[in-house]
Amino acid sequence: MQLAIESVTKRYRKGVVALREFSLDLKPGVLGLLGPNGAGKTTLMSILATITRATEGRVLWNDTDIARDPDVLRSVLGYLPQDFGVYPNLNAVEFLEYLAAVKGLDGVAARRRIDELLDLVNLTDVRKRPLGGYSGGMRQRVGIAQALLNDPELLIVDEPTAGLDPEERVRFRNLLSDLSGERIVILSTHIVSDVEATATDIALIAQGTLVVHATPEELLRSVEGKVWEWVVPSAELTAVKQKFLISSTTRRSDGVHVRVLGEEPPTNAQPVSPNLEDAYLFCLSRHRAGARAGAAA
């Protein structure tokens, strides 16, 4: 089971380039796709989900070009888009039965799986209620269930925890971890803690290009000894923000605890253990500095 993205470029009308020469090889596991708004994550997801075509380059699923034969991938694909709708007059069972029919699943097997999935996403009690009356989080869970209908080998989930309450979010993270064994899961999100909890690999994407592809451990190692924390008076915070790359600030009784990223420690600062958010910010700032230098040259 292998997904290979080879030099994919996506150019929209009016010359907007969403992805530029993007390459990535994926094997079973959970890939956390991180990047700022407008980085090209959703475009990449749409290409992998066979919703839109790449302008250049190709995507291979087990060595088959999905642009030439998309159904090879579609029959084993589960896709949860960032924005999706439901038919408000159908209940969860009817909606999932409809999508199971569209996906070509056998009726008896589909019905059993729908029961199990509704149990899994905690919607059994409201299975007969029209989707129009569902909250945003409940609709999201219906979306998760439909993505798992065909027992996918490739599961693509775009911002899956948006709108979920903390309890459901934890449940979904556990679900993703469970799923990752014999399939490829691509999880796109802004929420670094979701990736921290589930991803076996991380791809950081910015301005349509791949900034880094590494395991969480490798990413953390890359910022080892570059994260510092010290306490500054509130009045000095603005000056500190201008001088350092700040990862986080916390107001406490003794002042503002500032967490900064940098090669050299600020005066009186103590080294601290890096987390993924630090690594994300560090890689991103390095990429932007490189891009600026490239543009200036």
Binding site: A49, L90, Y98, K103, L120, E167, D178
Partner: protein, 538 residues
């Protein structure tokens, strides 16, 4: 910010949003086509055997009548989406949280609608100038004579339509397909009043001017008076419309509408009616309140419990639920028999989806029409009950090909294998099945009577109606074009048994099944081609 400035910005933003959409180009294209139709004499105004010399007064009057008669029909369907757009884009929720006044909102929407339709009317005015130059019967452009009928007849009429569109969107019962179908009959009623005035009187009075929405009665009355001075033998026969195939043989010099105070007051009154309708819409407008806009849940559904409250409850310990390992693995089998069975399942799923959201009364009436087809005398069933049976499901057919767009389910559906051809064909089969069921009573009668030619005409209808719905739905992404076009076609063709236009074959004389079989095939292919192009991977 003062009130007029708020109103200005509301109208401006809405207008700009519209004119920057692709659909606005189509709208303008339609206006240009209407102008061309006048030039090509596809649209004609005739009195007995006469038409006017193509001077500014005549062309201005013809274009003015086009604006009142045709733009008032098509224009309604063009602009009846301004509140819906705010709902879909969720801008409405932002607006609802501002101090925005409901009357201001509906008035602003009506003015924006009016601006769009006024642009169409102005394009027609420009077309009139070109037509006069190209025809060359009178090269003297008299701007007053040319523009006054266009502005004074056309603009009040489109103002009423603009406000009516907002009123329809504000009334829950008329907001959707019911309103689209109802407007056609409402418009027919308005036109009928005008036409009755034309045929019922020689000299229109001030009262007529107030009753005459289109202005056609006043115009025809003045023209006939002027013509009679030239030719006292001229009859009252008059017509205005598309496909006026009987060529006129004589011309007369029309000097223009005599704008009496009563006539001007009548037109001004229609403007006032437009304003009143826009303000009336504010009474029914729900201000994007989901509680007033949402689904009406049945008792059973309410008893299902308020899970939103459960959702909001936070618990530190996440209760254990079944894990993924409890899911039954699916066996992947792609044998032919399985594939056929699964396609049949998809047809059933599409058929069930068609019926969602309608009450028991719909089924009761459909059953009544089925029995009517089965039990009425065979000719009456064919020419009468079947016609009713096949207008009844119009709101079901109009969903075809539009649901994926309107409910944003496209990305879920089209990431499935062979989704475009399978789902499209299943949807078409479901639509044809609906037609076969609702008109099925007649098919049984014809079968037992051995009337195969009539049965073929019935079959052509079964295949043609969903094909038309599918093609229009897929290409436009909206239910309105089918609802409007089908209702108009149904009214003109099957209801009046007009040959070539009678796709139901309601009489032996008007039946042309071969053409409609072919049209059905072409329309389904067109729908497939369009969707394949739109969905890059189809």
């Amino acid at each position: 910010m003062n009130r007029s400035r708020i109103l200005y910005h509301m109208v401006r933003a809405d207008f700009l949003e519209r004119v920057r959409r692709y659909s606005f180009l189509l709208t303008m294209g339609f206006a240009i086509y209407l102008g061309y139709a006048v030039y090509a004499r596809q649209v004609t105004l005739r009195l007995d055997d006469y038409r006017g010399v193509d001077n500014s007064a005549w062309l201005g009057t013809v274009i003015g009548l086009i604006a009142t008669v045709w733009v008032s029909l098509i224009g309604f369907y063009i602009v009846k989406n301004s509140i819906q757009r705010d709902r879909q884009t969720r801008v409405g929720q932002i607006l609802a949280a501002t101090p925005m006044n409901k009357s201001f909102y509906t008035l602003g929407k009506a003015l924006s609608n009016f601006a769009v339709l006024a642009v169409m009317v102005l394009i027609l005015a420009l077309a009139a100038v070109f037509i006069q130059i190209l025809r060359g019967e009178d090269t003297q452009i008299a701007l007053g004579a040319l523009l006054s009928p266009i502005l004074l007849l056309g603009l009040p009429a489109v103002a009423v339509v603009a406000a009516l569109a907002v009123l329809f969107e504000s009334l829950p019962v008329l907001r959707g397909g019911v309103g689209n179908v109802f407007y056609f009959f409402f418009w027919t009623g308005l036109i009928s009043i005008s036409v009755t005035l034309v045929t019922g009187t020689q000299q229109p009075t001030g009262l007529h001017a107030l009753q005459d929405f289109t202005g056609i009665a006043v115009v025809m009355g003045q023209m006939q008076t002027q013509l009679r001075q030239l030719d006292p033998q001229v009859s009252n026969a008059a017509s205005f419309g598309f496909g006026n195939f009987h060529a006129t043989t004589k011309t007369f010099l029309w000097t223009g509408i005599h704008w009496t105070p009563a006539l001007l007051f009548g037109r001004a009154l229609w403007l006032a009616v437009a304003g009143a309708l826009a303000l009336l819409a504010a009474v029914f407008f729900d201000r994007f309140d989901p509680a007033r806009n949402g689904l009406r849940l049945g008792r059973k559904q309410k008893e299902a419990g308020n899970t939103d409250v459960l959702d909001a409850r936070f618990s530190v310990v996440v209760p254990a639920l079944p894990s993924v390992s409890h899911l039954t693995p699916l066996l992947r089998d792609a044998s032919n028999r399985q594939t056929r069975t699964r396609f049949f399942s998809l047809i059933v799923a599409e058929f069930r989806l068609l019926f969602r959201g309608h009450g028991w009364w719909w089924y009761a009436a459909a059953a009544g029409l089925f029995l009517g087809c089965l039990l009425s005398p065979i000719d009456a069933a064919r020419s009468g009950v079947l016609v009713a049976a096949w207008i009844w499901p119009v709101l079901f057919w109009s969903q075809m090909g539009t649901r994926e767009e309107s409910f944003s389910t496209g990305s879920l559906i089209f990431s499935a294998p062979r989704a475009v051809p399978r789902q499209l064909l299943a949807m078409y089969a479901a639509g044809a099945l609906l037609a076969a069921l609702t008109g099925g009573g007649l098919a049984l009668r014809l079968l037992f009577a051995g009337n195969l030619s009539a049965l073929a005409a019935w079959g052509a209808g079964v295949l043609f109606i969903p094909a038309m719905a599918l093609a229009l739905g897929v290409t436009t992404g909206s239910r309105k074009p089918f609802e409007a076009l089908y209702t108009a076609w149904w009214y003109v063709g099957p209801l009046h048994h007009i040959r070539q236009l009678d796709f139901m074959g309601t009489t032996a004389e008007s039946s042309t099944p071969v053409g409609y079989f072919a049209a059905a095939v072409l329309l389904v292919l067109a729908a497939y081609a369009w969707r394949s192009v739109r969905r890059a991977y189809a």
